[in-house]
Symmetry: C2
Subunit: 231 residues, 2 copies
């Protein structure tokens, strides 16, 4: 696959790999695909692909994510580049890793052309992956732990409307700790980032909880005034 400058050709020394985080059943998940071809045929790996000459790296990551999930407008950020000399056995390839946060139960998954299967794996039950994908995953998970403490991004893993209990479980799963319910409630509510919906939970076998949604406009306003999200 020699490089050339035709618009649709790809950059053959650079790839993109995506860490797609989801949250189901109280546990943090990662989306993996099973390669249908190439030197890692039949192995689970991070979904990835190549960058075209006529798209930015962010666009490339979004395109890959869209083709995999069918969903656009997903929270997606660059993690960093990984470039050990021998990370890819066939030839020299440097990869730029991205991480995405998605609400796992919103859509169906599509393996696409180069994958034969696609599946969620619990973050603590990841198989041995090819190349440096385990390293990328570990780095990304540590990054997420850090990030989730200082920026209100966790909401992207939940449905639009969620309860405080769901939110707490999410944080407990990501941070691998347990949190005090009353204190967690107060802390979050006092930030004024959660707008109560006019709805309550339904079909639960206990008192129905208030549903909230993340108020992004309020967050932007508060941040201008120097507010910093924490914990």
């Amino acid at each position: 696959m020699p490089p050339n400058n035709f618009p649709d050709s790809i950059i053959d020394t650079l790839s993109i790999d995506c860490l797609i985080f989801g949250f189901k059943d109280g546990e943090l998940d990662i989306l993996l695909v099973k390669h249908a071809e190439g030197i890692s045929k039949d192995r689970w790996a991070l979904p990835g692909g190549w960058i075209q000459y006529n798209e930015s790296i962010d666009d490339a990551a979004n395109r890959l994510l869209h083709s995999l999930t069918g969903v656009s407008n997903i929270y997606l950020e660059q993690l960093r580049a990984f470039g050990h000399v021998d990370r890819y056995p066939a030839n020299r390839v440097i990869t730029i890793a991205y991480y995405a946060l998605v609400n796992a139960d919103n859509y169906s998954l599509n393996p696409g052309f180069t994958a034969s299967d696609v599946q969620w794996f619990k973050i603590h039950d990841i198989p041995k992956l090819p190349y440096d994908h385990n390293e990328i995953l570990y780095f990304g998970y540590m990054h997420l732990k850090q990030k989730v403490m200082n920026e209100p991004i966790g909401f992207n893993l939940l449905p639009k409307k969620f309860t405080l209990h769901q939110l707490q479980q999410l944080y407990e799963a990501i941070l691998e700790t347990s949190l005090d319910k009353p204190n967690f409630r107060r802390k979050l509510l006092n930030m004024n980032l959660l707008k109560p919906c006019n709805e309550k939970q339904e079909d639960v076998s206990h008192r129905a909880a208030q549903l909230y949604r993340f108020d992004k406009k309020m967050y932007d306003k508060l941040r201008e005034k120097g507010f910093i999200f924490e914990l």
Copy 2:
């Protein structure tokens, strides 16, 4: 410059750019080089270069930094990749940005082969730079502000032995605020990360201050126990 797989050849779609931070006269500085050739001849820009097929991207960044400053073992971390389609006018080049923290008065600078000059610029007095270098610089500065709050890396900008006042001025310069002296002292000293030297300042026209050094071993030990540096 067509790519090939000879060990010493470079990857022509990928470059490295370095944000080299220094601290002088109470102000945060950035090192820029004046291009001696190429499409940005005679313009100031971030120091950068190319990645060879037989070196990792971290090694490439270290090599570039060493050739520029003559110093090894400098604090150096990857920032992230920048890859807009038209960031580089001649052809498609994605760049991986690194940032380094150095003690500016420890060595002499060497422009190297492709630069005619090299110079420190105050962070608030940066000229218009070519490509997306101003954007990289802004992103890196924001990243540094964030990082310096949560990890004890500021010390890399100071001499091995420093006073609390110097440290405070450093933080004030990076964070663009003023800090309360007594509270700053207590906070830092209570962390037990500063080991007092058996020395005091000399040749100052006021009471000589205690000199401290950053105790990395202690930091590693404390971090294992769950300690998190803050502010």
